[in-house]
Amino acid sequence: MNPVQQAVVWLNDPLNWTNPGGVLDRVGEHLSMSAAAVLLGCLVAWPIGLWLGHSGRGGGAVVLISNLTLSIPTLALLTILPLTFLGFGRPAVVVALAVFAVPPLLANAYTGVRQADPEARDAARGMGLSGWQVLRRVELPLAVPYLAAGFRTAAVQVVATAALASFVNGGGLGQIIRAGFGLDIAAGGGQIIAGGVLVAGLALAAEGVLALVERAVTPRPLRRTRRAANRRAADATAGN
């Protein structure tokens, strides 16, 4: 029986889905830690990105942070953070994943505010709006397509990276693949491929769903900028 047939057999065994530590448990873990990481990333990156974009400073810092995180291996953060004050368990994994969510969120928030039409900004100033009001009423709405694009890129990347949490027994769907490798290729080949299908499927599903969300929250006149925002985000954060 070749590995693909083995994988089909593995996926068709209901116990592999409903057992403790089965697929359903793992999907739950995977999604909950991804959601926590993206949320944490948003809380940190969006205020900073919006403020830097508003004040027009720190563009260099944004690029520097993106490049730095690009060169830090996920494995390193996943193994280092549990040894700090965060301790073993979910918080360390969530923080490690959030670190990789920050660059696309930050870069898009920054670019989104910078891209706001300077005339709109001037007009708002002329109407007597304060700096804070300009940010909230003019720049923020205009930056929504970018924020949405950044959110999508970051979330998909976190869902993809969360598979690596299995290296430190952090749970998630990666655990199924790791267990398969633990069985040795000949015996676990089916499970390995089944796990791969699940992990890849979840990432692609996240991409699809968030693409719809992104489209829904982007006002129609702003939709054409979506592609540019996406590309910029991708350039800022190549690699997972």
Binding site: L75, A76, A163, V168, A238
Partner: protein, 228 residues
Amino acid sequence: MSFHLSYRAEPGNPWFSWQYVRDNSDTILAALREHASLTGRAVLLAALVALPLAVLAYWYRRLAGPILALTGVLYTIPSLALFAFIAPYLGIGAVTVLTVVVLYALLVIVRNAVAGLNQVPPEVRDAAEGMGYGRWARLFRIDLPLALPGILTGVRLATVSTVALVTVGVVIGRGGLGQLIFAGFQNNFYKAQIMTGTLLCVLLALVLDLILAGVGRLLTPWLRSRPR
């Protein structure tokens, strides 16, 4: 003597230790060599495959959509899943790591090379055509040199992310410096070993990036005099 003893009695798991580096220099250097050679081979292979693909996408606009869409979908697939798909067929070894890493590097280089080629000004293209350049001559003497900054950006991004990605190879026991990090974690959370592996990873990425930046400067002398 008592001083010595009290010194030794410090809790023995520092974040960095020269003692560790000295005692294990063979292992560390072997891991570094494996990491560097995997990265080098991967980026070279990826560039060799990516450039023709990018030129195809540039020449035949109809191919550009499918090529970029395919690379986009591939990019969404998590690295661990890619290992899972490939390892049962190619087995446990450097070839599997190389294949996965090449696939990701490929995408980055293709995307940037296409962007670079599309930025060649149309006037320049027209002028070259008017001077009687054929398709291939134009490619090698006009398009590719002008797209070089974009291509080099792609190669640099690919190199840096490849250095980080190779560590995922620990899943099949061939992760270069990742092996060091992972072993440190498993051996009673030996911080010095984890840190050494991490620092060498980041340093390797930095050094390779600087080398490529230098190569880029040498290859594009016309960009140097221009004020930035």
